[in-house]
């Protein structure tokens, strides 16, 4: 009984020896995870990456402009909205390409382009039945999720390609996507400023 109550010093030494590698392994894993996160954040914050992205975006915009000039001149509103959508798509694709497909959201953006092309070739199917009635039925049958789960679901919808992803992976993707979006905003802002500055004043003012 006494021996069981007060274990010997040798036993304690052995137990500490056994536990040490486990602790070190977990610490190493934590350090690696931190390093990966820091690298991903630094990658998007570096000036070089922003320059590369901006240059690629300019090239893409030039191609978009060439396409838009070849198409027939419709109403200005439609042209602007279509061009804006096209520019946004190109900006997203360039961002995904600069991410080099290492993340889910980048792969999803690059894959969405292929899907869009396939959808164009397919014929639009006729919708049968009232959509409103169906929606009403589904809304009534829905079970309310807890607040945190509901918000995680919304975040999963916002981050491309992360609808059916576990919570830790979703948070990782969200961190990377936010950093990439910040860089995209900075680059596009700088590009817009550059274009407005480079353009003659008469074009903007309308005189």
């Amino acid at each position: 009984m006494v021996e069981s109550l007060f274990p010997s010093i040798e036993n304690t030494g052995e137990s500490s020896r056994r536990k040490k590698p486990r602790i070190s392994e977990t610490a190493e894993a934590e350090i690696e995870a931190r390093r990966v996160n820091e690298e991903s954040l630094k990658r998007w914050k570096t000036n070089r990456v922003q320059q590369i992205y901006a240059c690629k975006l300019v090239e893409a915009l030039r191609r978009v402009r060439q396409r838009s000039s070849t198409t027939s001149n419709n109403e200005t509103d439609k042209l602007v909205s279509g061009a804006a959508r096209e520019i946004r798509d190109t900006a997203d694709r360039v961002l995904a390409a600069s991410a080099r497909g290492t993340t889910r959201w980048s792969r999803a953006i690059l894959a969405s382009r292929v899907r869009a092309k396939l959808k164009k070739h397919r014929k639009a199917k006729k919708s049968t039945g009232n959509c409103k009635s169906r929606k009403g039925l589904t809304e009534t049958n829905r079970i309310k999720l807890p607040a945190v789960e509901r918000k995680l679901k919304i975040l999963g919808r916002l981050v491309p390609g992360c609808r059916k992803v576990s919570v830790p992976n979703l948070l990782d993707e969200a961190t990377d996507y936010i950093a990439a979006l910040e860089m995209q905003v900075r680059a596009m802002e700088a590009l817009a400023e550059l274009l407005t500055a480079a353009a003659p004043r008469t074009t903007l003012t309308g005189t």
Binding site: M1, N47, L61, R63, V80, L171, M188, A197, T205
Partner: protein, 337 residues
């Protein structure tokens, strides 16, 4: 010799012999009656068999005692027929011919039943003894474990990070495993050693770390406490960034068709120089440019733009190159459109 033979003592012995023989016959009759009862009774219950056994054993004892008395009485009488063959102290009495071993009919009937019952009892008793011994050893081990756990609990009072789920699980386990002789010490918070609880704890820690990383990225998220509030802030920030991208793409769409050669005129070097200057000067990410006016359909209303309005951003000092150069070598960057 004849007087000795035909005497009162011998007569009394004869009378005794007769009484013993009669008793033997009477006992045998009783045993036969018992046999008949056993044969007639269809349900041979163990209680009845025990009673029968008891009666049989009593009869045997009676017979043995009576015969022993009879032998003692008749041992001193009659001639000593010691012919030198056997031991000298042995003598054959007159009534030795009357000595009959009683036939145990009950033993014949119940021998097999008794044997099987004895074997069963032995088999039952052994595991019972074993279980008792095991219980004793288990009690000792449990007492030792309790003392160790109490010592550990005192040393690890600081570990109170686990959630209420783990404490509930441990309390449930305690109620299930509780026994009469074993006093269960309730596990403290942060000391759950179940696989599921450990995995859940690791998962929660991982999520909390990643939430901290997000908290560092998203501005104004340090003020908010709780996961729900943080997620709200993150969602709002992502939506804000996406709206900014939309707005900037609209702006570029407005600028792009009107500025026919603006994109082509800008060289790479100038663009990079301007880009570095703008990025260095700009600290805030949010765009301060006023939104373009939209009509009812949600598209840009270009007629509403103020014609006298000029852009606040001036071009950097230095002459722009008018010659159109190739903007950027995309193959070197590895981007193939």
């Amino acid at each position: 010799m004849l007087e000795g033979l035909v005497s009162q003592e011998s007569l009394s012995l004869n009378s005794m012999d007769m009484s013993v023989l009669e008793r033997l016959k009477w006992v045998q009759q009783q045993q036969q009656q018992l046999q008949q009862v056993v044969s007639h009774s269809s349900n041979n219950s163990p209680e009845l068999l025990q009673i029968l056994q008891f009666h049989g054993s009593n009869n045997d004892e009676l017979l043995e005692s009576s015969f022993s008395q009879f032998q003692m009485l008749g041992s001193g009488f009659g001639p000593n027929y010691n012919m030198g063959f056997g031991p000298p102290h042995e003598s054959i009495s007159r009534t030795s011919s009357c000595h009959m071993e009683p036939v145990d009919t009950m033993e014949v009937l119940l021998k097999t039943g008794e044997e099987t019952r004895a074997v069963a009892l032995k088999n039952k008793r052994k595991p019972e003894v074993k279980t008792r011994e095991e219980q004793k050893t288990e009690k000792k081990i449990k007492v030792e474990a309790e003392t160790e756990s109490s010592m550990k609990g005192k040393s690890n009072m600081g570990n109170t990070e686990a959630s209420s789920d783990t404490s509930k699980e441990t309390s449930k386990g305690a109620s299930e495993n509780q026994k009469l002789d074993y006093i269960h010490v309730r596990a403290r918070r942060g000391q759950a050693t179940d696989r599921h609880s450990l995995a859940e704890r690791a998962r929660r820690e991982k999520i909390s770390k990643k939430m901290k990383y997000l908290q560092d990225i998203v501005p104004g998220c340090n003020k908010v406490t709780g996961k729900a509030g943080m997620l709200d802030e993150i969602i709002n920030y992502v939506q804000c960034l996406q709206r900014q991208v939309e707005f900037l793409s609209m702006k570029l769409a407005v600028l792009n068709p009107e500025l026919e050669l603006a994109v082509e005129d800008v060289s790479v070097k100038q663009f990079q120089a301007y880009f570095t200057n703008v990025v260095a000067s700009k600290q805030s990410i949010m765009v301060d440019v006023p939104l373009f006016p939209l009509d009812q359909q949600g598209s840009l209303d270009l007629s509403a733009i103020n014609p006298n309005q000029t852009t606040s951003i001036e071009a950097p000092s230095g002459s722009w190159e008018t010659q159109s150069q190739s903007l950027y070598n995309t193959s070197s960057l590895g981007f193939h459109y």
